[in-house]
Assembly symmetry: C2
Homo-oligomer: 328 residues x 2
Amino acid sequence: MSVSLPVAVDAMGGDKAPAEIVAGAVRAAAELGVPVVLVGQPEVLADLDTGGLEVIPASEVIGMHDDPGQGVRRKKDSSLVRAAEAVRDGTACAMVSAGNTGATMASALLRMGRISGVQRPAIATPIPVPGTTPTILLDAGANAECQAAWLVQFAQMGSVFATERYGISAPRVGLLSIGEEDTKGTPLVKETHALLKDTPGLRFIGNVEGRDILTDEVDVVVTDGFTGNVALKTLEGGIKFIVNKVLEAMMSSDEAKDAAKVLLPALGPLADELEPDNTGGAMLLGVDGVCIISHGSSSATAVVNAVRVARDMVDAGLVDHLRSAIKA
Amino acid sequence: MSVSLPVAVDAMGGDKAPAEIVAGAVRAAAELGVPVVLVGQPEVLADLDTGGLEVIPASEVIGMHDDPGQGVRRKKDSSLVRAAEAVRDGTACAMVSAGNTGATMASALLRMGRISGVQRPAIATPIPVPGTTPTILLDAGANAECQAAWLVQFAQMGSVFATERYGISAPRVGLLSIGEEDTKGTPLVKETHALLKDTPGLRFIGNVEGRDILTDEVDVVVTDGFTGNVALKTLEGGIKFIVNKVLEAMMSSDEAKDAAKVLLPALGPLADELEPDNTGGAMLLGVDGVCIISHGSSSATAVVNAVRVARDMVDAGLVDHLRSAIKA
C-alpha cells in the first residue's frame, strides 16, 4: 500500500466531533505533510474550516452509545463504514476514529476483513511509562471472552507492534495473572502460559502482575479483553485521581501556587507523557489494514498524533509483518 | 465472642517479621488497650521485646512463597494454623497475619470453617479514596474462578462489611464490568447482574468500571478474584508509580526541594490516606471468625491498625451480621 494514499479520518466520531477532529486532520496534513481525507456528512463539514481537505461523503453517523453491531449493519452509509471501505478499496492507506469503539472494530472487521489466519483481532493500547517505552496492553477490550489460542496470537501481534511502533527489537511478552508462578490464575491463563512457553519467535517472560504494567520490566502484556479493559480503566482512573489531588494541593493556597510554579519544569514532562492525547491512540491488530482507535475525548492534538502513527505503521508495513508472524 | 479475648497476631508472617510484627503487637496492646497474644516460635520471640505479651507457641512457619495448601496440611504446628485454631477454640477473638495470603485463607477456612450457607469466602480489600470513605473491592484474590451465586454472596458480605467497618448505612454495590450497560461483559457478569437486580436487601447500582473504584460513586465493587486481584495490583502499581515520579520531581533540584516543603501540608494528608499501612488490612469474609489479612510489607503501624480493625469488627459483631445477611 502506497504512503501517498491519504489517511481517512472519521470526522463524525468522538466527544469533540466534528470540530476538534477536523481541526486535528487539517493540522496533521499541514504539520506532518501527510495526505488526509475526511469522512463525514458534507453539510456538516461545509460549516467548518476543512483546509481544503478532500471529503468522502457519508450521510449517516453511528453514535457513541449506539449498539455497534446494529449500527454497522443498519448505517451502511455511516462515516465509520465508509472510512473502513476506503481502506479496503485502496483509496485510503489507513483509518482513524475517535468514535464508538465497538462500531469502529465492527466496521474494520466487516469491511477490511481479518488477516489470513487471525482468529480474533485485538485492541492494542500503548500505556505510557514515563522514562521508558510504553507498555502495550492487549486485548484492551475487543473480546470479553477469549480462548488460549487467541491469546497466543495476541502475543505474536503485540510483539510485532512493539517492534514496529517503538523499535523494541525483541519485546518482552508477559501474561497478565495474579502471581508469577505458572500455577497461579484461571484455567485460561494456565493453558495460555503453557502454549506461550512453546511458541517460537516470542520472548515470553512468564506471568506478570498488574503492578508490572507501569515498569520497564515488560513490553507487551497479554490478557483477555475483559481483564485488559478493567486493568486499563482502573489504571486511568487511578492516575487521574492522583494527578487531580496533586493539582488540588498545588492550588490550595497562594504559597502553594508559587511552589507549584517552581516544580512545573520537573512535573510538566511527566504530565505530557501521561496525557492520552499524546500516545497516538490504540490500534486494532489483526484486521487487514491499519485502523487507529483514538479515545473518545480526543482533541485536535490526539488526531494529529493518531494520523502520525497511522502513517508510520503504513510506512513500516505493519500489516505485512503481522501477516508473516501469524503465518509462521 | 467476648472482646476481652485477645487478638491473635501471627508473629512469623510478613516481609518484616518477626521484629516489626512484634513491635506492632506490643504497640497495639499499649496504645489501644486491646489484649494481644503473639503466635510463633518461642525461641525466636525470646530474642525480641515482646512487652510481656502472652505467646501461643508454634514450632513451624509457613513461608511467604510456600504452597498454601501444602503448607497448611503439612505444618500443623505453624503460627498461622495455631492462630486460626485459637479463634476456633475461643482463646482469641480474631486473627491477624501479614504472612502468606493463600495460607492465611486456607488456615482460616480449614480451622474456623465457613459461616453456614457461605459458598466461598472472599478477600475484601478497602481501597482508600482520599476525601471520602474507602471503596471495598471483593473478591481481591481468594477465588480465581467464580460462579454467579458466589458473587451475589460477595455483594451481600461486602455490603455488611461496608456498614460495620465504615458506617455506610446503605452501601452502593457495583458489579465490575467493561461498560455500564447490562449487555456488556462476560457471561459471568451478565448472569451475576441479573441475579443482583433481584437480590433483596442490596442497593445494587448496576455495572461499574475500573475508573469508578477511586470515586465516591460506589461503596462496594464486586468481581471475581482474578479480575479483582489484577485491578487491585494495577491500581497499586499505578499510584506508586505516579507518587514516586512526583517525589522525584520534588527532589530534582534545591529549588524544587524548597517548593516541595511548601506543598507538604497539602500533600501530606493525601499520602497518609493512600499509605497501605493505614488501611487496617483486608478481611477474609465468610469464615466463621474475624481474620485480617495485612499486606506482606506490613510495618508495626500496619499491625497496630490491623489489630484495631480486628477489635472493632469483633465489637460490631461482624460475623453474626454476615450470618444474618447470608441466611436472609
